[in-house]
């Protein structure tokens, strides 16, 4: 297979005119309003230039005009696939600055919601990755399961996509009585479907042929570009903030950091990035099971919420392991009710920056798959 690729790519004796194609911003598989300026020689990509900014909403400027709790809905809209995870580092940062001690129950609920949302995010990532390869059915299977998770989120927060659920010092609402059972149901359902997806999509011969050895991201390049999340771990770097710098209560749980092993191709190819996501869903299931068993039933989730969030003068950087990678917030406070500056470290933006590097020399059909394997969300890139 690799030999074949080399032969066919090296054979370019015929000089053909290179073609510049705009892929996006309105294109079925750029995962939002991303525009890629692609130079093609025949079908082979010689240059990729991502153009971003079609979804720019002035998040950082908005944040300066809002009080601290009012910023949270804007953060939801950054990585709109995993809003729960987005809110977490922000509220954690403010809690650290204000020195708020949050109740045990809140920590557990936050953790369970974050892991559920991680599963939902990875489901979308795997589903759309399959869709880019032309497999439509796994997409709908995964979306069907995601509904279960969204139903739980809708019940606890009122929103299906943008939750505004975490707040400084606690949570907006308490969970409902059958929350734990629902979480375990989801875990069961996710496991059953993932088994099916493994057969139907991940180990499908055509899918392996399409994704293995495509878009290889070497470990050192991944580190140099500052990639994080499944993109970094897919290249074989076992870096996970939940394990390396445990925040919240992650040190209490038993889970593995999944890395790409080059099972069907080279370490760091598109297939590896995808399998890391598949395996991480299973790890999240494990964490949820443990957390549900440990979670205290009693406690008031809003007891530590301050009436007015007034953050002392200073600055902080606080980050958390998002489904897509490390999401951090750098917050500068001048002592007032409004942040002086909020600057997110957007995962998707940094992960996207590696695309031109790893997609040269592959075909245009591969480019779409490589983009899918990086799993970006434009809301976070453009903010």
């Amino acid at each position: 297979m690799s030999e074949r690729r080399r032969i066919e790519f090296e054979y370019s004796g015929v000089d053909t005119e290179r073609m510049r194609v705009n892929v996006g911003p309105q294109h079925p598989s750029t995962h939002g309003v991303l525009r890629l300026e692609v130079e093609l020689e025949g079908e082979i990509v010689t240059e990729v230039i991502p153009h971003i900014g079609y979804l720019h909403r002035c998040f950082e400027k908005h944040a300066e005009a809002m009080t601290y709790p009012q910023v949270i809905p804007y953060i939801d809209r950054m990585d709109y696939i995993s809003s729960m995870n987005n809110e977490w580092p922000y509220v954690m940062a403010i809690e650290k600055m204000c020195d708020i001690k949050i109740p045990e129950k809140v920590e557990y609920i936050r953790l369970i919601c974050a892991e559920l949302n991680r599963i939902a995010n990875h489901q979308i990532a795997v589903a759309t990755f399959g869709l880019d390869a032309g497999a439509f059915t796994p997409f709908l299977y995964l979306f069907r399961d995601r509904e279960w998770i969204l139903n739980v989120f809708e019940t606890i927060s009122g929103g299906r996509l943008l939750y505004n659920y975490y707040c400084v010092g606690g949570l907006r609402n308490d969970v409902y009585p059958t929350f734990k059972e629902d979480c375990l149901d989801i875990v069961r359902q996710v496991r059953a479907t993932n088994k099916e997806i493994m057969d139907l999509l991940v180990y499908n011969y055509i899918f392996v042929e399409r994704t293995a050895k495509v878009g290889v991201l070497p470990p050192d390049v991944a580190i140099n570009y500052g990639c994080s999340g499944p993109v970094l771990r897919g290249s074989g770097n076992a870096f996970d903030l939940r394990r390396s710098e445990p925040y919240s209560i992650y040190d209490r749980f038993d889970f593995d950091v999944q890395i790409g092993k080059g099972e069907v191709g080279i370490v760091g190819d598109s297939w590896d990035r995808n399998i890391v996501r598949m395996n991480e869903m299973e790890e999240s299931c494990k964490i949820i099971e443990q957390a549900v068993a440990q979670m205290p039933n009693t406690g008031d989730v809003s007891e530590a919420i301050p009436k007015k969030v007034r953050v002392p003068k200073g600055e902080i950087y606080c980050s958390a392991e998002n489904p897509k990678g490390e999401l951090g917030f750098y917050i500068v406070s001048d002592g007032g009710q409004k942040p002086f500056r909020v600057r997110p470290r957007a995962t998707s933006f940094i992960n996207l920056s590696v695309l031109p590097e790893i997609s040269k020399g592959y075909m245009i059909a591969d480019l779409v798959l490589i983009l899918g394997s990086i799993d970006i969300v434009l809301g976070e890139i453009d903010r």
Partner: protein
């Protein structure tokens, strides 16, 4: 004209010819509606959803609604397009699909034109689709369309070789290019089908693996020729939006769509004729005869239409170079091998 009951029914030759040519058209129109509904319903069954439910009971008039919708749509011709070619392309593609029906024998008593080179005619007309695709892709003046058209051209030309060799082999085995004679050679029980080595003694067990693999080769190459998944690269929506028909809308898009479904049936009919005994009953004389022949033919052909739909909703898509690899390095050598083995058998028989 012994193969055509309409000639015997109608004494006037002109009216008979018009009736004979209209019959397949009516069939194609009805078939396309059924196939579209089948596609929607099978897809929804595979994907655990209901599919169309609002238009009529179980959504059975959904295809009609879709056709009406497409006819109502604005017919856009891009200003930079080559208007003549752009407007002609969908119809040329449909002509290719419809012309194939001229020789398809639905029953022992009905074939529109019983010509001696029926197999050759089917194959030649089948290549018409590519003219339409390249024409449409080129005339659209759109880079995606152009890429799709170029992909399609290379794909169809590559896959015509294994498919052509498969046809040639069956022709060698049967000793005829006439489709009716080809089917008659497979009469009797189902083990007389060319899929199982054709009519012959117990010794045909040696040729059976070759005819069976030839069947698979032909199935794969015909999937590629009709641009169906896993070979739907010319219209691979994830990279080149909709390929050659990106710029088409309204009735012209409907014609492309229609031609694709008609081609699906033509290919399925060809597989049925070549390998599954055409209108022959699988169980000897049981439910035989010209009228039941139509039933068996349509059942067998629809099974392969179903297989195509089934594959589409199960498999991912191949990449262009993998497609070429498969044609030139896998299917072509194996089809030559089968050709050699079966020709040897046909000589010795």
């Amino acid at each position: 004209m012994e193969h055509n009951f309409i000639y015997n029914l109608i004494n006037n030759e002109v009216i008979a010819i018009i009736a004979i040519s209209l019959l397949p058209l009516i069939f194609v129109l009805i078939y396309a509606l059924i196939a579209i509904l089948g596609e929607l319903k099978i897809a929804s069954f595979v994907q655990e959803r209901l599919g169309p439910m609002r238009t009529g009971p179980w959504g059975i008039i959904q295809p009609v609604a879709e056709v009406v919708k497409l006819i109502q749509k604005e017919d856009i011709t891009p200003s930079a397009a080559d208007k003549k070619l752009f407007n002609m392309a969908p119809y040329i593609m449909f002509i290719g699909a419809y012309a194939a029906f001229a020789v398809i024998p639905f029953s022992s008593a009905f074939v529109p034109a019983n010509i001696n080179v029926g197999l050759f005619f089917l194959f030649a007309v089948g290549a018409f689709a590519i003219i339409g695709i390249v024409m449409g892709g080129w005339a659209s003046n759109n880079k995606y369309s152009l890429l799709g058209a170029m992909r399609s051209a290379s794909q169809i030309i590559s896959y015509e070789i294994p498919a052509g060799i498969a046809l040639l082999t069956i022709a060698a085995l049967a000793g005829t290019l006439n489709l009716q004679e080809l089917i008659e050679a497979q009469s009797g029980w189902f083990w007389n089908w060319f899929l199982f080595g054709g009519d012959g003694s117990v010794w045909k067990i040696f040729v059976l693996p070759f005819t069976f693999s030839l069947f698979l080769i032909f199935l794969v190459s015909s999937l590629a020729e009709t641009n169906r998944t896993p070979f739907d690269i010319p219209e691979g929506e994830s990279e080149i939006v909709a390929g050659y028909h990106t710029e088409y809308s309204g009735i012209k898009f409907a014609m492309f769509f229609f031609a694709e479904y008609a081609n699906m049936f033509v290919i399925s009919a060809l597989i049925t004729i070549l390998f599954l005994g055409g209108w022959n009953s699988p169980f000897g004389e049981f439910l035989g005869g010209p009228i039941w022949g139509v039933f068996w033919f349509i059942i067998k052909a629809f099974f392969f239409v179903f297989v195509q739909i089934w594959l589409r909703w199960t498999l991912p898509r191949l990449r262009v170079d993998q497609l070429m690899y498969m044609s030139w390095k896998v299917l072509v050598p194996f089809s030559f091998l089968c050709f050699f083995a079966i020709s040897l058998w046909a000589m010795l028989k």
